[in-house]
């Protein structure tokens, strides 16, 4: 008989536990939707549509997860996304270069990250206040650039925008007998790439582990020799950069700039992170959880619509309820753990 050597399994960390719960709930919810509502839920395209529509939200949520793990908050991300879209559209319409437009997007995001991170980390101003100011500033700038919606009119960009990955075997047969292949937008690839990179950052890179340390207890982190200010600063810089990327992906999805673009996106991103198992108090969270948090949030909305509740407030109400449920669940699960440890 083979000599099995079992690796001793540790109980899941708080991060792992909350993420597992989210993934399980998402899978169960989706399976129930497939069984009870059927329709679109039976097609793979449903999931791809969710990804196509929410690629920029996923990217922004990744950034927020980083900031929240570090014990901070950034509510400017939606506005920065919107400002990036508008800036890039206007630049392209004025005969800009496609490559430079990407740099412009990254630059805007990075600029917000640098300034906000500096104010928060080195001048020690409350992150909520700083990013609230950032949010108003970015929104205002967007409106100054153009009050009216601007449609991107640029050949190279249109070509880039229309790139779609088609997967025939995941498609479905339409009523007229034609096979409609599953379609994935380029933005989804960017989003998943961001998730993967942030995952590696948070797991294998010293800076990423530093985010957890300062979010867990920043005084301790300081005593452990971590450069708390620089670590906190970097979390906002990366979050800002991701907001810029999110803006470009948003533009590739809609193809137009609008002052009300990505309105409320920061709140959806916070909700996604929380549902994905990131604690607002910091130190606990995982970007894979966040991805599933976004999917869970979106699925709930789809289910609401499929159930015939078409009015928009039903989505808000269920989102609110969902968020409440997850926060309650997290505090119960973590509370039980703490209790078990004491006894």
């Amino acid at each position: 008989m083979a000599n099995f050597k079992f690796k001793r399994k540790e109980p899941l960390t708080d991060t792992g536990l909350l993420m597992t719960i989210t993934i399980c709930i998402f899978v169960v919810m989706y399976l129930l939707a497939m069984l009870l509502l059927q329709g679109g839920f039976l097609h793979a395209q449903q999931i791809f549509d969710m990804l196509n529509d929410n690629a920029s939200l996923i990217i922004v949520s990744c950034g927020l997860t980083i900031v929240m793990i570090g014990g901070g908050i950034d509510i400017s991300v939606g506005a920065v996304t919107s400002l990036t879209v508008m800036s890039c559209v206007l630049y392209l319409n004025n005969g800009g270069n496609l490559f430079v437009s990407v740099l412009l997007a990254l630059g805007i995001g990075l600029a917000f990250g640098l300034v906000q991170g500096f104010l928060i980390s080195y001048l020690e101003i409350q992150p909520f206040i700083v990013t609230l100011a950032g949010m108003f500033f970015a929104r205002g700038m967007t409106t100054i650039l153009s009050v009216n919606p601007q449609k991107a009119d640029h050949a190279a960009f249109a070509a880039l925008r229309d790139i779609k990955i088609e997967i025939p075997w995941l498609g479905y047969v339409a009523k007229n007998g034609n096979v409609v292949p599953a379609r994935i937008e380029l933005g989804v690839v960017v989003a998943l790439l961001c998730v993967a990179l942030v995952f590696v950052l948070l797991r294998f890179i010293s800076l990423g582990r530093g985010f957890y340390a300062i979010g867990g207890n920043w005084q301790s982190a300081l005593m452990l020799g971590i450069n708390v200010k620089r670590t906190r600063f970097m979390s906002y810089v990366i979050c800002g950069l991701l907001s810029g990327i999110s803006g470009y992906v948003f533009m590739m999805h809609t193809g137009a700039g609008n002052a009300t673009n990505a309105a409320g996106m920061e709140m959806n991103a916070i909700a996604s992170s929380i549902i994905g198992g990131t604690l607002l108090t910091g130190g606990v969270g995982n970007v894979i959880g966040t991805l599933f948090g976004t999917l869970t949030l979106t699925t709930i909305k789809k289910i609401v619509v499929s159930s015939g509740l078409n009015d928009p407030w039903w989505q808000s109400i269920t989102t609110g309820g969902m968020l409440c449920f997850f926060i309650l669940l997290q505090s119960v699960v973590l509370g039980r753990r703490a209790k078990k440890k004491q006894s």
Partner: protein
């Protein structure tokens, strides 16, 4: 200067605005010894430690490590010089793994060498006999193990000097023993350990040498086995035994016939071990013991200020349940907290508002006290207690310590309590006000109010109390009254029977 010192602190001076925290203190730690640093509150222990760890900068003096002068400007500096500190509050991150806590922040590599770290961490943990695995989340370990992980980190950083600042205060007996074994093990490996604690028994169990500080000055350095416990206590408190014996006795009072106002059997709380206690109508008694002996925790349990976990309480012969301060207040108990800044005054509010606070709570929020009524009360007590304030509308925060204390006293007196608990009411206030407060306590007792009084100054307790309950290491170890109420007897009881 002694030659065999691993760490030599020579003539250390440190002044804070208005206070001389350390003056000319010498300290010598040898290789492979456990050296206890002792002293009461304000003796300068923590200042000395903080200078050594780079939290404070000294004003004068010299620090030598292995004979070489060193300058310590920050906690990082201290670490680089081989001086590591494990604080009472654990300074690790509970949300990451044991291995990460041991290695994070120590190198500047871009990628985390996870496997390597875990292997190394497991080796150290096994070597030191610490019951934890490197991949566990730190927060899932007991406090003792977390503390040991902090020590393991220090050991792996090649520390020569390990400072343990009150490491045992949140550990139980078994955990304390685990920690001591680890300390002895490190000692045998040549590490010099500075052990700061207020538990006398632990000092005698584990330390080789004791340095005593008092009021920022060095009292002396002693071999533990040559210093009896009672002498240690008198050195910490600052009264020679002979001098103590010569002090007069307080007169006997005929308290025996009076009826009990409050009786507790086996009362315990989240912070206090089970104890019995009673107080008679119009009696003044007190809890005494060194800092951390559990005297404050006990009275907090009586008032319901901490989570009460058990016990049977009778007030005027009737069983009552006191689990929250408001319960105690409704039964006529008032409590003046030890830390008036944190638990007592509300600095931004006026004298008037602070005075009526307790009465308002008692009345409930639907029976507000009218402005004119409040003004009458405030004026009355400002006069009676001789509170020195510009007006009754002055914010309490701008008053002196003694007058703040009087405001809190007034607050409780206004509720006409039957039983008043005063925890360190005279700390940090001038002598004149101290006497006023002592007189007030005696006057209240004459009027039939029971008072429990706690003070670090034994003389003060002897002057005011007719009965003293002595605590050591969180247990009541004696009760003194009548002829036994002498400083010598108090010291002996505090130090333990072997004196």
């Amino acid at each position: 200067m002694q030659e065999n010192c691993l760490l030599q602190m020579h003539h250390i001076d440190k002044t804070f605005p208005g206070v001389k925290a350390l003056s000319g203190v010498d300290f010598c730690l040898r290789k492979g010894e456990i050296h206890a640093l002792m002293g009461e509150n304000g003796a300068g222990k923590s200042t000395l430690i903080k200078i050594l760890t780079g939290v404070y900068q000294m004003d004068g003096g010299e620090i030598r490590l292995e004979g070489q002068p060193v300058v310590i400007k920050s906690p990082q500096d201290a670490g680089n010089n081989g001086i590591s500190t494990v604080y009472q509050e654990i300074t690790l991150c509970p949300n990451i793994t044991v291995a990460e806590n041991m290695f994070i922040g120590r190198d500047s590599s871009f990628f985390v060498k996870k496997k390597e770290r875990e292997k190394r961490a497991d080796e150290i943990l096994t070597k030191l006999g610490i019951p934890a695995r490197s991949t566990m989340q730190l927060g899932s370990c007991s406090l003792a193990v977390q503390q040991m992980v902090a020590i393991a980190r220090a050991v792996d950083m090649k520390c020569k000097v390990l400072i343990l600042d009150e490491p045992t205060s949140s550990l139980d007996d078994k955990e304390v023993n685990m920690l001591f074994d680890l300390m002895r093990d490190l000692k045998s490996k040549g590490v010099g350990i500075i052990f700061v604690t207020h538990f006398l028994e632990q000092v005698y169990e584990v330390s080789d040498r004791i340095t005593v500080l008092r009021n920022g000055e060095l009292v002396g350095e002693y071999l533990t086995q040559e210093l009896p416990q009672v002498e240690l206590v008198s050195k910490m408190i600052g009264k020679e035994l002979e001098e103590l014996s010569s002090l007069g006795e307080t007169e006997e009072t005929g308290d025996e016939e009076k009826e009990d106002f409050y009786v507790a059997k086996g009362l315990s709380s989240s912070d206090a071990l089970a104890f019995d206690f009673n107080i008679k109508k119009g009696e003044v008694n007190g809890f005494t013991g060194l800092l951390g002996s559990g005297r404050s925790e006990s009275v907090r349990a009586i008032f319901g200020a901490d989570k009460v976990t058990g016990g049977n309480v009778k007030i005027k012969g009737k069983n009552v349940k006191i689990t929250k301060p408001i319960d105690a207040m409704k039964h006529g108990i008032g409590y003046l907290a030890e830390d008036r800044k944190r638990d007592g005054i509300i600095a931004e509010l006026s004298v008037r508002e602070n005075i009526i606070l307790a009465l308002q709570v008692m009345n409930g929020m639907f029976k507000p006290i009218s402005r004119s009524e409040a003004e009458t009360f405030a004026d009355e007590y400002i006069k009676v207690l001789n509170i020195k304030t510009a007006s009754r509308e002055t914010p309490v925060g701008s008053l002196s310590g003694g007058n703040q204390q009087k405001v809190i006293l007034a607050r409780w007196l206004l509720t006409h309590p039957d039983y008043l608990i005063l925890d360190e009411p005279t700390r940090g206030i001038d002598v004149g006000t101290k006497l006023e407060i002592q007189k007030l306590v005696l006057k209240l007792a004459e009027e039939g109010v029971s008072v429990t009084f706690i003070s670090s100054e034994v003389e003060e307790m002897l002057r005011t109390c007719s009965r003293l309950i002595v605590m050591r290491d969180r247990h009541i170890v004696g009760e003194l009254k009548g002829k036994e109420l002498t400083q010598t007897q108090v010291m002996k009881t505090i130090a333990g029977g072997d004196a």
